[in-house]
């Protein structure tokens, strides 16, 4: 069980007052708040042992190296990777997915195929559209059904036509708009039977529920630490080690090579390091990595099963409350069953502009949430929601009372405008 009062005590931002009133933070799908344990880990690095990892023999550097490596091990354990070397530090999910897609052999005789879904975040779409436009890949977009059930039949028929050993299914684990989960294990099986690879956009699942990359059959996975109580500018790419060995880095430089030799011919020869080092060029975000370790420590201390259960409780409260109060005035996108979705909702306000509602929510009740396309422009356009949607997203530090205030305020705003 979750001790919500104790959790809320850990998050300084929840105690900020605006105009003398508390804030209600409902934008965790974009950015989570940070517990003091993570903030302290960052401050400790900058206050007490600032240094480069692995470069110098002094005490600060040794401490940085120790905690930097420990954090990678913590992330590996958090997703049940076989080895810490399967975890690469990146900036965010976007960078992770871009890097993961380098596994496609763009210069092979038969053009590679990339499969994604229509509700994909731009992080899992824009690069693929770009590659297709310059003739490097075939892009297949599986349309998301209106009820958000994953179209396994359609997916299978697309996979069957893909070139073996040169296709990547890059799929959202949990959508940041429909809130729906996909059946990862089942889809991975289909992909592997046809000799392809499965890359998971875990931006909206990594912070909210247990993940087991081995049991789920995931080849590559991207996640952002800033959505998981961690620092901004930090993310991870998980990859099976044998895949990381084949993967071409996005950038090269210091720390990616074991040696740079002068050959007798006058040429220069580089000797690349093994994963994950070959992907981590230049000076790294050591504070960010150490803060990321503190974030997963915090999540583990609460328990990912507990967080997942609590979020179902929040999702149920939100769906029931919204339907009772505003059922005919709004449309909540995504699955109706709270056990089948994340604790977020893209809400169609049926002719009322979502940005204006978000502005009024902030003004009237200090409710902070997001409005618009949520980086899923394509999906909103395909379902003719061209003004976007209003999206509250809840996390382990939110309460059912906050959801009540959100619903009451939304009702008040809709009445005010109509």
């Amino acid at each position: 069980m979750i001790n919500i009062n104790a959790i809320r005590e850990d998050f300084p931002a929840l105690h900020e007052l605006r105009d003398g009133k508390p804030i209600i933070y409902a934008d965790s799908a974009c950015m989570s708040l940070k517990p003091k344990q993570v903030i302290n880990a960052l401050v400790d690095y900058y206050s007490h042992y600032t240094a480069c990892a692995g470069r110098s023999p002094h005490a600060f550097s040794r401490e940085t190296t120790r905690l930097y490596n420990e954090s990678r091990k913590k992330i590996a354990a958090f997703i049940n990777a076989k080895d810490a070397a399967e975890v690469v530090w990146v900036k965010n999910t976007t960078e992770a997915l871009n890097l993961g897609s380098n596994i496609l052999k763009l210069d092979s005789k038969e053009k590679p195929t990339l499969i994604t879904t229509s509700e994909s975040h731009n992080s899992n779409l824009v690069k693929w559209v770009r590659l297709e436009s310059i003739g490097k890949i075939n892009l297949k977009i599986i349309p998301t059904h209106i009820d958000c059930a994953f179209d396994i039949e359609k997916f299978t028929s697309v996979v069957e036509k893909c070139p073996p050993e040169n296709f990547l299914a890059s799929l959202n684990h949990v959508s940041n708009v429909t809130a729906a989960h996909i059946p990862v294990k089942e889809l991975g099986k289909i992909v592997h039977e046809h000799e392809g690879l499965l890359q998971l956009d875990a931006a909206q699942s990594f912070p909210h529920a247990p993940l087991d990359v081995q049991k789920m059959g995931i080849d590559l996975l991207g996640a952002s630490m800033h959505k998981a109580l961690g620092p901004t500018g930090m993310g991870i790419l998980y990859g099976k080690y044998e895949i990381l060995e084949q993967l071409e880095p996005l950038i090269l430089g210091g720390e990616t090579v074991s040696d740079v030799k002068a050959l007798n011919s006058g040429k220069v020869k580089i000797e690349m390091l093994n994963p994950p080092s070959k992907f981590e060029a230049g000076l790294q975000n050591y504070a960010g990595a150490i803060g990321s370790g503190a974030a997963v420590d915090y999540l583990n201390s609460v328990g990912m099963e507990n967080i997942a259960k609590y979020e179902v409780h929040l999702a149920r409260k939100m769906l029931t409350g919204l339907n009772e109060a505003l059922g005919d005035k709004i449309q909540i996108l995504g699955p109706k069953d709270p056990t089948q979705r994340a604790a977020l909702a893209a809400i169609d306000l049926k002719g009322i502009n979502p940005h204006e509602v978000a502005i009024l929510m902030d003004e009237m009740s200090n409710i902070f949430l997001r409005s618009g396309y949520h980086c899923t422009h394509y999906w909103h356009h395909t379902i003719n929601l061209n003004e976007g949607t209003l999206r509250p997203s809840w996390y382990l530090y939110n309460t059912v009372e906050e959801i009540d205030i959100f619903i009451e305020t939304l009702e008040e705003i809709i009445n005010m405008l109509t």
Binding site: E356, G372, Y373, L417
Partner: protein, 76 residues
């Protein structure tokens, strides 16, 4: 959003409002106009710029039930 981008969106909103009848428009109308001119950043960036402009007193807002929307207008 970089500082420059924010400045750009703010300047754009002022220019658009200056061209609108009665110097006023809804958020949707501003986004649509910016998009049609091909000068918009991501449309999701316009609302926060509107709030900034209102806080600085350069624009003001009122509710229109007829339009089911907030009307933004240039402060006189």
């Amino acid at each position: 959003m970089s500082f420059k981008d924010e400045e750009k969106v703010i300047r754009l909103i002022i220019l658009l409002l200056e061209d609108m009848p009665n110097n006023e428009a809804t958020t949707k109308e501003l986004i649509d106009e910016a998009t049609s001119l091909g000068v918009a950043d991501c449309p999701d960036r316009i609302p926060s710029a509107l709030v900034e402009l209102a806080a600085k007193g350069q624009i003001k807002k009122h509710i229109s039930r007829e339009k089911k929307a907030i009307i933004w207008s240039l402060s006189s």
